[in-house]
């Protein structure tokens, strides 16, 4: 499988199973060492949408997110996930930091690849269920 880029890694981690990502982060804590916690909080991300009738971007509403921002040796680790699980998002930031500092890189990438494969499989099932509702209409 082709290695995921940074954006794909982050997107995968943001959707990863909370218990599994926490378990991975537990294995990284000692290796990462001391970190500065820049942010560990819940907050809102405003979500705009592009309107097709007027060409205007407008706000649909806000999404509850958990955010973790950490730093070690000048390297940033960041996590942002839906919901209010501060442990899971801190785990995401730790994995991001570990990858940026080449700590347990193989384990982290293997985790991301497995989660991405699981997410793709989940999407495939969803889309095959949706496809079952395809309708072909005829006008008489």
């Amino acid at each position: 499988m082709k290695e995921l880029n940074h954006g794909q890694v982050l997107s995968t981690l943001a959707r990863a199973d909370a218990d599994r990502i926490k378990a991975l982060a537990e294995t990284l804590i000692d290796q990462v060492g001391e970190v500065e916690v820049v942010a560990s909080r819940t907050g809102l991300v405003m979500l705009p949408m592009q309107d097709t009738a007027g060409g205007t971007a407008f706000h649909l509403g806000e999404v509850l997110m958990s955010e973790a921002h950490i730093r070690a040796d000048g390297v940033e680790g960041y996590g942002l996930r839906r919901g209010r699980d501060l442990e899971a998002v801190m785990a995401m930031a730790l994995v991001d930091l570990a990858l940026a500092r080449d700590i347990s890189k193989a384990d982290c990438l293997e985790f991301c690849a497995a989660e991405a494969a699981g997410q793709m499989a989940e999407d495939d099932i969803t889309l095959r269920r949706i496809e079952a509702t395809r309708v072909d209409m005829e006008t008489f």
Partner: protein, 352 residues
């Protein structure tokens, strides 16, 4: 202006709240999880009207208020104010939506085809009364197709523009914090389009339907045909501190485009909301379609429908009437008595 101070109500207020909550009993995580699981469309509706997306919070608000929807939305809007804004995501593009349902009433052969997705549109409306006598209702399983539906579908209006059926407007290059935001600035008229669409996105479903329906029945200028209706999931695209763009997760959104003939081209109305709520989107898009040229004080005039479909304000104004108005009402009574006395005095005057 005068006020009446009331004493002795503290205990009654405390007991009245207890009385309200006593029928609902204990609220725990299991109840919230059950509500979230069992009532996804109600959860979606309140997330849209609250303008706050989180299924757990919405289910908790439903549990805490016994499903009193105006209280649910008020509770969520109030909670929202306790949270910082972390960022503004990149605007959702129609073509990037992970699409679950996409239908058109205007064209049967839209590019990408039509998928009904989850719907009760064509089902028999039969109440499963056997459940009440001990026979559970177990839905039949979906039989998945061998191949997957395309996750992303093109916009129908883009295809129509290619075929010169309508003119698509140029996209305004406004992003992030520059997008006008009703939660930080007042709604003024004539309304900015971003404010109009944001207001409709968070509007109360019943209010939007009532006014949209009046336009559909002929009290508007244009009759809508659903050009494209979508229920989908949108990626919330944010930035890492190093600048990498990534999805922080998906949220459910609904979107409707309606069209009407205008001269040689089609004219579009648009609406979208958080969560899956297609009735609201079709009605709101109909109001958007009918805005141009609407007479002052009619249901399709922007000021009229935006002010009257804001659920927290309208329900709040409505329920304020049940609060003590003793002084103003006494003033009305005084005026009535005075008029009556003057009339009686006039009758008593001797004839000239």
């Amino acid at each position: 202006m005068a006020y009446v101070a009331t004493r002795g109500g503290e205990r009654a207020i405390e007991q009245s709240e207890r009385l309200f909550r006593s029928d609902m009993g204990r609220i725990d995580q299991a109840r919230v999880a059950e509500l979230r699981h069992a009532l996804p469309y109600l959860v979606d509706r309140v997330m849209g009207e609250a303008s706050l997306y989180d299924e757990d919070l919405a289910a908790l608000a439903l549990a805490q208020t016994g499903g009193e929807l105006y209280e649910v939305v008020l509770l969520l809007r109030a909670w929202r104010t306790t949270q910082p804004r972390l960022s503004v995501a990149a605007p959702i593009q129609q073509k990037d939506l992970f699409t679950h349902r996409r239908i058109s009433a205007a064209f049967k052969d839209i590019p990408g085809g039509q998928v009904l997705g989850p719907t009760l549109d064509y089902s028999h409306r039969i109440l499963a009364t056997d459940v009440l006598t001990g026979t559970p209702f177990v839905p039949n399983n979906v039989v998945p197709s061998a191949r997957a539906a395309p996750a992303h579908q093109p916009s129908v209006s883009a295809w129509q523009a290619e075929n010169e059926l309508l003119d698509l407007p140029p996209v305004e290059p406004v992003q992030g914090n520059d997008i006008p935001d009703l939660t930080r600035e007042p709604l003024l008229f004539p309304s900015k389009r971003a404010h109009t669409l944001q207001s409709l996105a968070r509007a109360e479903t019943g209010g939007v339907l009532a006014l949209g329906y009046s336009a559909m029945r002929g009290y508007g200028q244009a009759h809508p045909t659903v050009n494209e209706l979508r229920l989908a999931e949108a990626e919330v695209m944010v930035k890492h501190p190093r600048g990498t763009s990534f999805s922080a997760g998906r949220v459910k959104v609904s979107q409707a485009e309606v069209v009407s003939k205008k001269g040689e081209k089609l004219e579009l109305g648009f609406a979208a909301t958080l969560g899956w709520n297609e009735v609201k989107c079709i009605a709101a898009a109909t109001l958007d379609l009918n805005t141009k040229g609407a007479a002052k004080g009619t249901a399709t005039e922007e000021e009229f429908f935006l002010y009257h479909t804001e659920g927290v304000e309208s329900s709040g104004f409505c329920i304020h009437f049940k609060l003590p108005h003793y002084v103003t009402f006494q003033s009305s009574l005084d005026a009535m008595r005075d008029a009556k006395a003057k009339k009686a005095a006039k009758c008593m005057e001797p004839a000239q």
